[in-house]
């Protein structure tokens, strides 16, 4: 099994290292051909405006949407989460609208407001996740299809899952946290080999043709 990591800009090395640490082969994805044979894709932290521009310029939007539509797991951290959101507060156009949420960019303020916190993520077990938030976005709205995986004390949503789409406002890859990547690898393995009775499911929020 190979997991792709979008390597246009940002902290993709850290995700490749985390995959390596859990014994999963990671591959850099910069153009459509790099997606051949991957069982899932990670969209790293970085600048979402930069990554959006490079995704469009090099024709990655359609192949990533198709990968998501086939049910392969897609995991976005921070800027990666912004790229996956169907709506961005402030009328910015979405890039890969496969996650039915509204995100607000730089929701905590500027760099001076970046922080670390121990965030409980029940599906990953009792031990909280050491989460690093850097000029982080927040999820303002979720559709009923979206599972909330983690909230801050004030109730703000910082991690979600909608079927095969996983997203965090923070950076597990900066703190030696491997459980999100393990979860993703499990999802990818299930996608590759669904097993008896599980069946392939269409993407739940895709209606008709994907947006161009």
């Amino acid at each position: 099994m190979r997991i792709g990591v979008l390597a246009l800009q940002g902290a993709f090395r850290e995700h490749l290292d985390t995959l390596h640490a859990i014994g999963v082969e990671g591959v850099r994805v910069r153009e459509p051909a790099d997606l051949d044979g991957v069982s899932g894709l990670i969209l790293p932290g970085g600048e979402s405006t930069t990554m959006r521009q490079l995704i469009e310029r090099w024709g990655l939007r359609q192949p990533i949407l198709e990968l998501a539509e086939r049910g392969a797991p897609i995991f976005g951290t921070c800027a990666g989460m912004i790229l996956l959101a169907r709506e961005i507060a402030g009328d910015e156009p979405p890039t890969l609208p496969v996650l039915d949420v509204t995100v607000e960019r730089n929701a905590f303020g500027r760099q001076l407001d970046s922080f670390e916190a121990e965030v409980p993520v029940p599906i990953l077990g009792d031990r909280p996740v050491h989460a690093v938030f850097i000029r982080a976005p927040i999820i303002e709205r979720t559709s009923p299809e979206v599972d909330v995986l983690a909230r801050l004390d004030d109730g703000r949503i910082v991690a979600v899952r909608e079927r095969n789409i996983l997203a965090t406002a923070f950076h597990p890859e900066l703190a030696g946290e491997t459980r999100f990547h393990r979860l993703m690898a499990t999802m990818a393995a299930e996608h590759d080999d669904p097993g008896e009775g599980s069946g392939r499911r269409p993407h739940p929020t895709r209606r008709g043709r994907p947006a161009r």
Binding site: A7, L8, Q9, G10, A11, F12, R13, E14, R30, G45, G46, E47, T49, T50, Q53, L54, R57, C78, A79, R105, N106, G109, R110, Q111, L112, D113, S114, F115, E116, A117, E118, V119, V132, F133, I134, R135, L152, D153, H171, L174, A175
Partner: protein, 295 residues
């Protein structure tokens, strides 16, 4: 839930998010917007680009806060600003403005001939320039969360940037081959703290992200330093002193991503118009060289 702001991980982490990207010098909100649209990962808010600072002479200081604020309002990407070497009050002012990163920069006239800013004392992270490994580790010891080689700013000439990056990387390779008992003497020779020298010898890389600055003016320049081992680039005068800044900016962004793909670099380099004119290093008298500032 305990929440801790401005930690080492968040300071260093923002630089990690900028990797593989281009940080562009801008002097107006319009230029900042152009840079953002072209794919810049951050902008450096200035009153004048280094080529103009060089031409103007005199004392170069922190920019007018109103210019920095106007640029912060214009874009959503991080905004950096420069303080003079050792001028901790300029840094306090920049922190009060809420900039995302402070560059303690040799491009401005130094304010202190022996001390750099104690960067641990600030909540906002710092990037500093270096010419060699010793200088880099001294700055990291003072609290810099990101490094950049200095190059020779405002020249449009890549030669100094290449020399300095090769020096830093060669010194790290040399440390990696040393016995542990040789690292004490190496630390003394580098003028750097032993603990950091030991860490570099073990990891083979700096403990913070390292970009290249000073002299990048074409997509191929950016790709050259990326292939040599830079983690990203600062482009100062190279964009807004070129014939078509929007196209040049975007082409440098593309070449930084596809730095090891000559076909793509060729494609993005076509028809960009003239890059900035540039200056041969021999034409610059020693006293006007910026890279030697810093200790």
């Amino acid at each position: 839930m305990t929440v801790e702001t401005s930690t080492w991980a968040t300071k260093k982490g923002l630089a990690q998010m900028l990797k593989g990207g281009v940080i562009m010098d801008v002097v107006t909100p319009e230029q900042a917007k152009l840079a953002e649209d072209a794919g810049a990962v951050a902008v450096m808010a200035l009153e004048r680009v280094p080529a103009d600072i060089r031409a103007a002479g005199g004392v170069a200081r922190m920019s007018d806060p109103s210019i920095i604020e106007a640029i912060m309002d214009a874009v959503t990407i991080p905004v950096m600003a420069k303080a003079r070497i050792g001028h901790f009050v300029e840094a306090q002012v920049l922190e009060a403005l809420g900039v995302d990163y402070i560059d303690e920069s040799e491009v401005l006239t130094p304010a202190d001939e022996s001390n750099h800013i104690d960067k641990h004392a600030f909540k906002v992270p710092f990037v500093c320039g270096c010419r060699n490994l010793g200088e880099a580790l001294r700055r990291i010891n003072e609290g810099a969360a990101m490094m950049r080689t200095k190059g020779e700013a405002g020249t449009g000439n890549i030669v100094e940037a290449v020399r300095q990056l090769r020096d830093v990387l060669a010194e790290m390779r040399r440390l990696r081959g040393m016995r542990e008992d040789e690292l004490f003497a190496a630390a003394k020779e580098l003028g750097a703290p032993y603990e950091l020298v030991k860490q570099v010898a073990a990891d083979g890389k700096l403990p913070v992200v390292n970009f290249v600055a000073g002299g990048i003016s074409t997509p191929a320049d950016a790709a050259l330093v990326m292939q040599l081992g830079a983690e990203g680039v600062f482009v100062g005068s190279g964009i807004f002193k070129s014939e078509d800044p929007a196209r040049m900016a975007n082409a440098i962004v593309q070449a930084t991503t596809f730095f090891d793909d000559p076909k793509k670099i060729a494609e993005v380099s076509k028809g960009l118009g003239a890059p900035m004119r540039g200056i041969a290093l021999e034409e610059i008298p020693d006293r006007e060289r910026l890279a030697v500032r810093g200790w």
